[in-house]
């Protein structure tokens, strides 16, 4: 079946796929917010038993569509029909949609950190008789469900005791505790490393075999290509096309991107001609212990150098110690018993606080921009000037209003932050634009060394390209840039040199020309035992 024909057939009455085959039909869905048309005549058809992916840039309307489907926006607030198994449904709330067998797992994890896994899984759906909780039943059911998603943890431990990857699986187990015909996963692997992602995707495939239909929203096109049967592309609140991976045309990632951005992306990474200068930052023998579990070594005698104009990558699996290394260098904002030496432009420096780090020209943008990077209730202007208020104030600490506006306005234009004015509240911006605000804030502090932790996490393809452009421009201006990322193609596409981190140690160093995902992955999964291998690598630093 040809790709475009699929979409056509779907719209035509009783065309290609027989109606009985369709578990879900959303017909001509339109949803307006005051001043914005979020969805305009969107059509989505999902076949029973398939894995159906939805792709689109941030703000394209994917989440709004899923909120319409799950009853977050009740019937009457949108126009169009939803047919479930051929019958029209009108949900008044999430409870209605769950009763109909639709379960949505949101991007933000919603586990209560201090309740046990069992309690979390049956929260709102307690295994009780007459209002008294049956704990034995709760525990045994929970353990059963956990095993079904491949977890063998004790259901009495709390989410705090397990990693983010496992938490996502617990969410899925929680979904399975309800009657589920249609499972919707919104960016399920956004916070997961490759290994956990692979496990999760395998699980979705397993569910397909068990007859559960899944809708998966993801930015990670390689994952979609690996798992989805069909993909619907949404752009600017409209359905663009539905592509069939089992059809005649081979669907490549570039083919999907073309639909998402409306044009073929020739190159996912902008060109970068490195102009590498003198050494900017050198970290030697850097050792950090866990702040609470102070016996545990999180960063283990790491060596690291970065030169002016150079973009250096830090590759590692989640929990490898990349963020911990960066944050401990950035004014000891993480860890305990930190030891080691830092050299800036060849001079040894002492950094005890974030303020020291900023003074020495080091900047760090966090991987968790909502919790640690931005003040979401304040404006773009206030966020951008937060790290360098001294630059827009006079000597006795009075902020010059005009100067601050000018600075913020400059970055809004230069980095193309999509907001009407710099007085827009940051919490209302999309992920990509929020990331640009974070970058503005630190570029404005005028550092010599920028450490960017997951700078493109959770943002769409177009915005990613722009962020890469900003990174290149920073390097071209002579800044030393360290990029931490879980996405290996991104590191290989952007960086001049890549360090691999495993279990707190720098286990490898690869130049751009030699970098392959396989090579990096080998270093990233290097175990601690062969001391010789680690030693040899450190010798090359």
């Amino acid at each position: 079946m040809a790709t475009d024909a699929t979409a056509q057939d779907g719209r035509g009455a009783g065309g290609g796929a027989p109606a009985g085959d369709l578990i879900l039909q959303m017909r001509s869905i339109s949803k307006e917010f005051p001043g914005v048309k979020a969805l305009s005549d969107v059509t989505l058809e999902v076949r029973r038993g398939e894995v159906h992916a939805i792709c689109g840039e941030n703000g394209a309307g994917k989440s709004t569509l899923m909120k319409v489907l799950s009853g977050v926006y009740p019937h009457g607030t949108y126009t169009g029909d939803i047919l479930l198994g051929g019958e029209e449904v009108r949900f008044k709330g999430i409870r209605d949609s769950e009763e109909a067998g639709i379960v949505i797992i949101h991007q933000e994890l919603a586990l209560v950190p201090r309740l046990s896994l069992a309690e979390n899984m049956f929260l709102g759906n307690e295994q009780a008789s007459g209002g008294v909780v049956d704990w034995n039943k709760t525990r045994s059911q929970a353990a059963k469900l956990l095993r079904r998603v491949g977890l063998h943890d004790n259901p009495d431990v709390t989410p705090l005791d397990i990693g983010v990857g496992k938490q996502q699986l617990v969410e899925i187990a929680k979904a399975l505790s309800k009657k589920v015909d249609l499972l919707i996963l919104d960016e399920p692997t956004a916070a997961l490393n490759d290994e956990d992602s692979a496990h999760l995707l395998g699980l979705i495939a397993e569910f397909r075999d068990q007859g559960i239909t899944s809708i998966i929203i993801s930015h990670k096109l390689n994952e979609i290509a690996a798992i989805a049967d069909r993909v619907t592309v949404i752009r600017d609140g409209q359905t663009i096309e539905t592509l069939d991976f089992h059809g005649a045309e081979t669907i490549t990632e570039d083919r999907i991107i073309k639909g998402m951005v409306g044009r073929p992306l020739d190159n996912r990474f902008p060109d970068h001609e490195p102009q590498i200068g003198a050494e900017a930052l050198r970290v030697e023998d850097w050792t950090v212990y866990h702040p609470i579990d102070t016996e545990r070594m999180v960063v283990d005698h790491a060596h690291l150098t970065v030169h002016q104009g150079e973009i250096v990558g830090l590759a590692g699996l989640m929990g490898a110690g990349r963020t911990e290394l960066a944050m401990s260098v950035f004014g000891r904002s993480y860890g305990a018993n930190i030891s080691g030496r830092i050299y800036k432009n060849g001079q040894e420096i002492s950094i005890r606080t974030v303020r020291d780090a900023i003074k020495h020209g080091i900047a760090y943008t966090t991987e968790d921009r909502k919790a640690l990077g931005l003040n979401l209730i304040q404006t773009i202007r206030e966020n951008i000037s937060a790290s360098a208020l001294g630059k827009v104030s006079n000597w006795w600490g009075v902020v010059r209003g005009g100067a601050e506006d000018v600075v913020a306005e400059k970055y809004r234009k230069e980095f193309r932050i999509k907001a009407p004015t710099v007085e827009s509240v940051v919490g209302k911006l999309s992920g990509g634009n929020q990331q640009k605000v974070v970058l503005s804030k630190w570029v404005n502090a005028d550092p010599d060394v920028l450490i960017l932790d997951e700078p493109t996490r959770g943002i769409d393809v177009g915005a990613k390209y722009e962020i890469y452009g900003i990174i290149n421009a920073l390097a071209a201006a002579g800044k030393a840039v360290i990029v931490i990322s879980s996405e290996l193609p991104e590191l290989i596409g952007v960086c001049d040199r890549i360090y691999a981190v495993s279990q707190g140690r720098i286990t490898g160093e690869v130049a751009r020309a030699d970098a392959t995902q396989e090579e990096l992955m080998r270093y990233m999964t290097m175990e601690k035992t062969p001391a010789g291998a680690g030693q040899a690598q450190e010798g090359t630093n």
Partner: protein, 390 residues
């Protein structure tokens, strides 16, 4: 007209609270047959509620940073007692006693700030302890009521600005001059702010709205000035002190690096720390600050009573906190304005005075005030929820 509606639509929160104040004033004006807005009552309104306004200035900043201070009432009693003893028992001069009171206030704040900022004990607990500690110390210190105090000291709370310019008709000329200065200051500062925005090619309010706002605000100041000029003494001294504090601290909160750090810490403490803001220093300074303002409130209260009393300052912390919340300060921190808290304090003050004129039982007054606090915050939350849906 459309522009106007849109403008007010966006600023409902800000104007809603002013509107509520005006409504309450009108209501009591009717209920009391016009006695509420008698010139002497206007002057008394400011004198009686000066302490709430002074404490609320510091409390806004503390709440914006995500803390709370439950100790201010006890600190007022403690420092009030101390300042009375210094003058009455030890024979210190008035200026020396005032200076000493301010120093003690700062030290009390530093004590509490130390535990909060550097030991990391939640402010709720530290200031709850402070509430007990300083109330206890006040009772130990004062014992019996300490009076009389020097009349020059008492004038701070009861007196008015000396009328050395005579009268124009029935009106006190000094008060008129102060009113004119206030109006001119308002117009000049607003026009300059607007010019600055235009210079940097930033969006400004529609000209008509801008002028309308100025006219309304100017008219309100003129009206209050007119009433005060007809009152027994003219402008209360304490009103001038409150005015200077409000202007100074509004500047501190809005225009200085320190003020911006307060909002940054309140909005997202971790992000602020990772931006190089020393959250500890901010916390510490905020409590030193509210300690200082508690001392000012203690001086005002003691001067108004004309005596040092161990039971002074009872429930002051609750009045100040209520004023902040009525005035739109967010419980979760990060949001809050001194101007809002001042209007909140005035709402509480007008309620107090109106209910007193109507001779409503004190117990009922308290219940009504509690209800108003609840309704004000409920209105705030509901209006925000509507805003979020849009």
């Amino acid at each position: 007209m459309n522009v106007l509606r849109e403008y007010f639509g966006r600023n409902v929160r800000q104007y809603g609270i002013v509107l509520a104040l005006l409504l309450i004033v009108l209501l009591f004006q009717l209920l009391t047959d016009g006695r509420l807005l008698a010139p002497n009552n206007i002057a008394a309104l400011f004198m009686q509620n000066a302490y709430v306004m002074i404490l609320a200035i510091g409390m806004v900043a503390v709440i914006v940073a995500g803390h709370i201070d439950l100790s201010v009432g006890s600190v007022v009693a403690f420092i009030g007692g101390l300042v009375a003893i210094m003058m009455h028992n030890w024979g210190w001069s008035v200026p020396l006693a005032i200076l000493a009171a301010l120093v003690v206030g700062a030290l009390v704040g530093a004590w509490q700030g130390f535990w909060i900022a550097f030991v990391g004990i939640p402010a709720f607990i530290v200031t709850l302890a402070g509430m007990l500690i300083f109330r206890g110390l006040a009772i130990v210190l004062v014992g019996q009521t300490i009076a009389p105090l020097p009349s020059s000291f008492n004038r701070i709370g009861n007196g008015s600005v000396a009328n050395f310019l005579g009268f124009a008709g029935q009106m006190d000329v000094v008060t008129l001059v102060i009113g004119v200065i206030a109006i001119v200051g308002l117009v000049v500062s607003q026009v300059r702010a607007r010019a600055n925005l235009i210079k940097h090619e930033l969006t400004v309010e529609v000209f008509g709205v801008f002028i309308g706002k100025l006219v309304v605000m100017g008219a309100l100041i003129a009206l209050v000035t007119y009433w005060l000029s007809l009152s027994r003494g003219g402008t209360p001294i304490i009103l001038l002190i409150v005015g200077v504090l409000v202007l100074g601290f509004t500047f501190l909160m809005n225009r200085t690096v320190f003020g911006r750090h307060v909002y940054a810490v309140g909005g997202n403490r971790n992000a602020a720390i990772l931006s190089g803001v020393s959250a500890r220093n901010v916390d510490f300074m905020l409590f030193v600050n509210i300690g200082l303002l508690s001392a000012v409130a203690a001086i005002a209260t003691t001067a108004r009573a004309g005596a040092g009393v161990a039971a002074a300052g009872q429930n002051f912390e609750l009045d100040a906190i209520a004023a902040c919340f009525i005035g739109g300060t967010a419980v979760a921190g990060g949001v809050g304005k001194i101007s809002g808290a001042m209007i909140g304090a005035l709402i509480m003050g007008v309620l107090n005075m109106g209910l007193s004129i109507l001779a409503v039982d004190a117990a009922w007054q308290q219940a009504i005030k509690g209800l108003v606090l609840l309704l004000a915050v409920a209105l705030d939350i509901v209006s925000k929820r509507k805003g979020a849906l849009r």
